[in-house]
């Protein structure tokens, strides 16, 4: 075999089945499992209009929370039979209440920032994954605010690391500065609360797992420290005291998100999880721990939605990975550790939609793309994502 191509060639297993077949197999596996275990039914068997509530009054009250189940989880550690033990909350609690999309593909660049930016714009962005640059195309937050004339306080992003600080708004000329979402970087916030050594918070300040020593300079519309008190009604001391009780950066993110829901009740809230990406360190046990924690945090968020009067009954929550990770059998990768091969396992994921206007216990098989999320949110809220390359998912029309 050519040395030049050792790193590019598929394994025998991969060669025997095309990428499309592998993607379909992953989708079928999720579907059969959910039908069998969670008692869900196939969406194709349903007819009639979407239950999504129409009308201006309903739209004004409508709230949407998007949670990216990041960064990068594979089927075999989640919805495949051998992975189910890692996601008991998704399977036993959330899935039966959800519409579950078994076949979501991401055809873009598989870096966490660029992929999440693509999720927010509905366009496969091509920006440098490790640069602090805004997306090239308008974000969902800009469409939402401009078309619906919503104030800045109505949409927020809670993101894991400094690299995500420009995700709230694009550099599109159609939208000016300050027309997107405010981005909160909880780790940055925690760093800012302390000067000098922070031994109590080391475990919450883990860095970008893929390039651990790279911390871009902040710029853009990120949350300022003094706003802890003015917006979140949280003193620096209380914030630090609570942070000491947490074990991971994503727990800190969820804590801030819950605080935002309590104080600002934004209509469009985007939360990006990232603990799972510890897989880049090559430690499988830490990767699985990250998945279990993210599973727990998703359920915790959903319970918060149910218990908050501003959200209960009128909120749709979407949970989806930004992408998967490399297959064990792709010779170009090293299994779970990375997402570099672009194989079917790393591109094929799922999406769960819960709550207002969503049929419960339904499994949808039809392939959709991750960039379809933005136009679907447009359909739910009533804004027009003019530059999105995705198509609204018909179940939400």
């Amino acid at each position: 075999m050519s040395n030049a191509f050792n790193s590019l060639l598929d394994s025998q297993t991969q060669q025997s089945a095309g990428a499309r077949e592998i993607a379909s197999r992953l989708s079928r596996s999720r579907r059969e499992f959910l039908r069998g275990t969670a008692g869900m039914v196939l969406g194709a068997a349903l007819s009639g209009a979407s239950p999504l509530v129409r009308g201006e009054a309903a739209r004004k009250k409508r709230k949407v929370i998007v949670v990216t189940f990041g960064g990068g989880a594979r089927d075999q550690e989640t919805f495949a039979p051998e992975g189910q033990e890692n996601i008991p909350n998704l399977i036993n609690d959330l899935a039966p209440q959800s519409s579950f999309f078994t076949h979501v593909t991401n055809q873009g660049i598989l870096g966490h920032y660029v992929a999440t930016a693509s999720l927010t714009t509905g366009v496969y962005e091509t920006l440098n994954n490790f640069s602090a640059v805004p997306p090239d195309h308008p974000t969902v937050f800009e469409y939402f605010r401009k078309d619906l004339r919503r104030p800045a306080s109505d949409t927020w992003v809670v993101a894991p690391s400094n690299g995500f600080n420009r995700i709230g708004e694009s550099n599109s000329r159609s939208f000016g500065p300050g027309t997107g979402a405010t981005v909160i970087l909880p780790k940055h916030l925690l760093s800012a609360t302390s000067s000098g050594a922070m031994p109590d918070f080391d475990h919450l300040l883990r860095d970008n797992y893929e390039n651990p020593m790279y911390t871009p300079e902040l710029g853009g519309n990120e949350f300022e420290l003094q706003q802890l008190e003015t917006i979140l009604r949280l003193s620096v001391e209380d914030f630090k005291a609570h942070a000491r009780t947490l074990t991971s950066p994503d727990e800190l993110s969820v804590y801030i998100a819950k605080r935002l829901m309590q104080q600002e009740a934004p209509s469009l809230l985007w939360i990006t999880m990232h603990d799972i990406d510890v897989a880049h360190s090559g430690a499988y046990s830490l990767y699985v721990q990250g998945i279990r924690r993210t599973d727990r945090l998703c359920a915790e968020l959903w319970r918060t939605v149910q218990s908050n009067p501003e959200y209960a009954g009128n909120t749709t929550m979407f949970v989806l990975p930004d992408f998967g990770r490399d297959s064990d059998y792709d010779a170009g990768g090293n299994g779970f550790q990375h997402h570099r091969t672009g194989d079917a396992a790393s591109r094929t994921t799922w999406m769960m939609a819960l709550g207002a206007g969503v049929r419960q216990g339904i499994v949808y098989d039809e392939p959709i793309e991750s960039i379809d999320l933005v136009p679907s949110l447009g359909a739910i809220f009533g804004f027009t994502p003019a530059e999105s390359a995705g198509r609204p998912i018909k179940e939400f029309l």
Partner: protein, 402 residues
């Protein structure tokens, strides 16, 4: 610059044997597309520091490319002619820095949505080449052994979950002197079938006493190298303008002497050690990742006929910046987490072994060190089966190879 413009003197900066090899086949290489030739040069430029199996593969590939006609070469590489390459890449010094070029090419292919098509073209070329090159017969069937769980007193969860469908699980293995028996068996194979870089022992902790015929690499032994690398990385990170791509380029250029290694050491093995640390994500901080990645790379590159990978407890997770610092004071270990890591690594060890020639005759053994659980995959043992036979490790290896 295009491949057709290549001249012999452009390879004068290559290591001597690499330069001679490329120039000897320059007529054929000039006819290859720019989208593929730098990938070949990336391998060729390190020819002087490669393992014998790798050298033979490059020689065979280049010889084959020179043997075929121009028309055949056009046919072989027609898919690669279709890829667009940016002017910036075309003007890059891809002869002098082929590795950096291919990294940038990869990023360009991602951003222009050409990566999948490129993968397909690469697979087709690799398959075509492979079908024409016949690897030498192995002197003895390959044997892989993973020793996992050092320091774990008890573990109740299921072990070898991914491997069980492929082999026989043993639950009455006598653990006494198990590691010695494994190393003795490897030494015996090395004596009976002397192949340079053919018999390896990789240890994620401190290496046990072993025969000098085994090519050995251990986390403990390379500690000075790791510390030197971490110091070097910290210094580079602090430089203005340093970003992830620049850091990657810097790491790719590091040589053993840059990191203070003795120049009289085995140059091939020294390079291998540096590459394990500079190319393997996490190898600098977690011993389990080091052992897994070193095993993978040894199998991919040296293709040993015997490879023992022993895993030791890694340090507990801490903030990444702290893990990457040189300060190991107060380091706590995570034996159970390390067992989970190593269990998965054993699965990857087997997968990587099965990618090599002679897979249908190869055997693989994984043992929970100090305990009675083991699993063997071999052509002669049933799959998805449990055996209650009482055996020691020596007998188990004998069974695996029978």
């Amino acid at each position: 610059m295009q491949p057709r413009d290549l001249k012999p003197e452009q390879f004068s900066s290559y290591p001597p044997e690499a330069g001679r090899l490329v120039v000897a086949h320059l007529d054929a290489l000039r006819e290859l597309p720019i989208s593929i030739l730098p990938s070949m040069l990336r391998e060729a430029i390190d020819y002087d520091y490669k393992f014998p199996v790798e050298r033979a593969a490059i020689e065979s590939e280049f010889a084959r490319l020179s043997e075929i006609s121009s028309a055949e070469r056009r046919d072989w590489f027609k898919d690669f002619e279709r890829f667009s390459i940016s002017p910036r890449l075309e003007s890059f010094d891809w002869v002098g820095q082929p590795a950096q070029f291919t990294e940038q090419l990869s990023a360009y292919l991602w951003s222009t949505h050409q990566l999948d098509a490129y993968r397909n073209a690469a697979i087709a070329y690799g398959n075509r080449l492979q079908s024409m090159l016949r690897p030498d017969a192995l002197p003895v069937p390959r044997l892989g052994i993973a020793v996992i769980g050092q320091g774990v007193v008890s573990y109740d969860a299921l072990l070898f979950k991914n491997l069980r469908p492929h082999g026989t699980y043993f639950n009455r293995i006598a653990p006494e002197n198990g590691l010695e028996m494994i190393l003795d068996a490897a030494a015996q194979r090395a004596r009976n079938h002397p192949v340079r870089y053919g018999h390896w022992y990789i240890d994620g902790g401190e290496e046990a006493s072993h025969d000098s015929l085994l090519t050995c690499l251990s986390y403990k032994t390379i500690e000075p190298l790791r510390n030197s690398l971490l110091r070097s990385m910290q210094a580079e990170i602090a430089r203005p303008g340093m970003g992830p791509e620049e850091l990657r380029t810097y790491l790719a250029r590091l040589t053993p002497s840059d990191l203070g290694m003795n120049p009289s050491n085995d140059v091939v093995l020294s390079r291998f050690q540096v590459k394990v640390l500079t190319e393997g994500s996490g190898t600098q901080i977690f011993s389990t990742t080091f052992a897994q990645w070193a095993s993978r790379e040894a199998l991919r590159r040296a293709q040993p006929i015997t490879l023992i990978a022993r895993f030791a407890p890694r340090q507990r997770q801490r903030p990444m910046n702290e893990l990457l610092s040189e300060n190991h004071s107060g380091m706590q270990l995570d034996p159970v987490g390390s067992l989970v890591d190593a269990d998965m690594a054993a699965y990857y060890h087997w997968i990587n072994q099965q990618r090599l020639a002679g897979a249908d005759r190869s055997s693989f053994l994984v043992w929970f060190e100090g305990h009675s659980q083991a699993l063997v995959i071999s052509p002669t043992l049933p799959r998805s089966t449990t055996s209650t036979s009482a055996l020691n490790l020596s007998q188990l290896i004998g069974l695996a190879l029978s």
